[in-house]
Amino acid sequence: MTKEELISLHKTMLQVRHFEQEVAKAFLAGQIPGFLHSSVGQEAVAVGVCAALREDDYVVSTHRGHGHVLAKGADLNSMMAEIYGKATGCCRGKGGSMHIADFDRGIVGANGIVGGGIPIANGVALAAKRRKTGQVVACFFGDGASNQGTFHEALNLASIWDLPVVFVAENNMYGMGTSQRRHQKVENIADRAAAYKIPGVVVDGNDVLAVREATLEACNRARRGEGPTLLECKTYRHFGHFVGDPGAYREPGELEAWLERDPLVLFRRYLEEQGVPAAALDELEAAVIEEVRMAVEFAYRSDEPAEETALEDVYAPTEAGRRAIW
């Protein structure tokens, strides 16, 4: 990778980090409705995976999806506005934090149902395969989701049809308040790949380069028509399950140990070792902070959606106009 490419990875991780932090702040200040799942601590997974994707590839995301969609190129402003529930939001204020989608950028959508997105990835991949576009789908889901029936059904289907999917198990060690130890006996979710006779790969999810490397390999395989890979990225969320969850179920010292391995700290150190001057990185971060601040400003200033718009988008319009809903 060129130095510019490396710096660009760092920039995207900074975007996710600062985006999440600003959103959390605004949420705690009562500016954001609903609830919020923060991906702070998991940036290297989203950014590493998406860095291996082509622009026309797809991602399928989760309730903890801000990082995935930012890394896939979602527009900061319209995404922030969506989280604020504003008319300028990418989903017109109808989706919110858990339902960000931007089909023009290959973002098939976040999901409020744990495991809900996994089978959908197969359909997207099926279309790509049928059309011979060479596109790949990166399908994110959590360790908790790997216990849903949808996970097993979808991996089996992708396996027998050799679908171009990279199943990214984002193992942050918890499904809500239940540690991975308590919700499954396998230590590695990737071990479950054996049941579907597909490659299962474990990677350090806090090492953005390792994630990118492993994803590239899985993508190459998928593009060659050899089928899916189950890629497990071991990581950790710094916040609780949702913003405001104190995370009392964590082991003492656990968070501190993971903070030592903060993916942004690790990668910044690496960049500095590669000779990128600290001042340049500081400047980069300042620019990102400003960009995120502008997005907050945009979202905050945007109008709320007009009431009648709630009645739109239930069905696609017919030639005669909007389909009536009685």
Partner: protein, 325 residues
């Protein structure tokens, strides 16, 4: 003065009392034990009854309902929690094709004393997959009993009845009511399923309302009372079995009916009530029945849109005026 507790505490008390009363009762659900429940409903029960009776599961709704069903079929008395009613979608085969059908398909050979507790409702900007009111799915599925309480008193008494019931019961709580307080006696009591409760007496119009909408209807009634319009508020409390008599009796008195629920209007519980009243009390009706329900859309995220979609106190007032016009 009777003590006041919240709906959350009422659920917890009912669970605790039934767990103490019957060794066969156990709870099963996601993060209900060690974590204390997403809505903190089951907080403290894991400490008291231990992990064998307060069973934390992986995120596997179909496995939860299936396990509860199997255990019930051989004589245990499970209480399963589905964290949000929306997640019934993940396990609807187990609920609708298995739980609801097994007794019938086996010619009555099996008894299923199983309760599924689950919170529904909008009001928190939780968007389309965390805000639904899905009782119509359930009442449309013969084999299930469906309870939908509004007050802490009803919640406690009905949940105890649901747990003791020998049929599968889906017990629908409302996430906006968990902090709502009301009088609940210290001592033990059980409210039989299938008995409506008149939440306010009145002679001018009958308002049948469920769950959180009972409070909205009460607020509307208080405002209308200031103008001398007296609404009678009937809270069915259980949708299956339905206390038709209570509704018909009230309509016979008032001659006017408004049905209020938070679920979308189309194909909803309100249509069922309206059909029953038209069929069985047509001669008493002095005006067409009005329904006040959510609009027929998924639930939007924006608070403004959510409010627009869901029934408000003003809508109930307007509907009462319409039936009285």
């Amino acid at each position: 003065m009777m003590r006041e507790i919240t709906c959350r505490e009422a659920v917890r008390e009912a669970l605790r009392e039934e767990l103490r009363r019957d060794e066969d009762v156990f709870l099963i659900g996601e993060d209900i034990g060690f974590y204390g429940g997403t809505n903190k409903v089951t907080e403290g029960l894991w400490q008291e009854f231990g992990p064998e009776r307060i069973m934390d599961t992986p995120i596997s709704e179909a496995a939860i309902i299936g396990a509860a069903l199997g255990a019930a079929a051989v004589g245990m008395r499970p209480v399963a929690e589905i964290m949000f009613i929306d997640f019934l979608g993940v396990c609807m085969d187990q609920v609708a094709n298995q739980v609801a059908k097994l007794r019938y398909m086996t010619g009555g050979k099996v008894t299923l004393p199983l309760t599924i507790r689950t919170p529904g409702g909008a009001g928190r900007s939780a968007a389309a997959q965390h805000s639904q009111s899905l009782e119509a799915w359930l009442i449309h599925t013969p084999g299930l009993l469906v309870v939908m309480p509004s007050t802490p008193y009803d919640t406690k008494g009905l949940l105890k009845a649901a747990i003791r019931e020998d049929n599968p019961v889906v017990f629908i709580e409302n996430k906006m009511l968990y902090n709502t307080k009301g009088p609940v006696p210290e001592g033990e009591y059980v409210i039989p399923l299938g008995k409506a409760d008149i939440k306010r007496e009145g002679k001018d119009a009958t308002v049948v309302a469920t769950s959180r909408m009972v409070y909205f209807a009460l607020e509307a009634a208080a405002k209308l009372a200031a103008e001398g319009i007296e609404c009678e508020i009937v809270d069915p409390r259980t949708l299956v079995p339905l206390d038709k008599e209570a509704i018909l009796e009230s309509v016979a008195k008032t001659g006017r009916l408004v049905v209020v629920h938070e679920a979308p209007e189309r194909g909803g519980f309100g249509a069922e009530v309206a059909a029953i009243v038209v069929n069985e009390a047509f001669d008493y009706l002095d005006a067409p029945i009005q329904r006040v329900c959510s609009k027929n859309t998924p639930m939007p995220f924006s608070p403004r849109l959510e409010r627009f979609i869901t029934p408000q106190v003003e809508d109930i007032i307007a509907a009462v005026r319409t039936v009285l016009a």
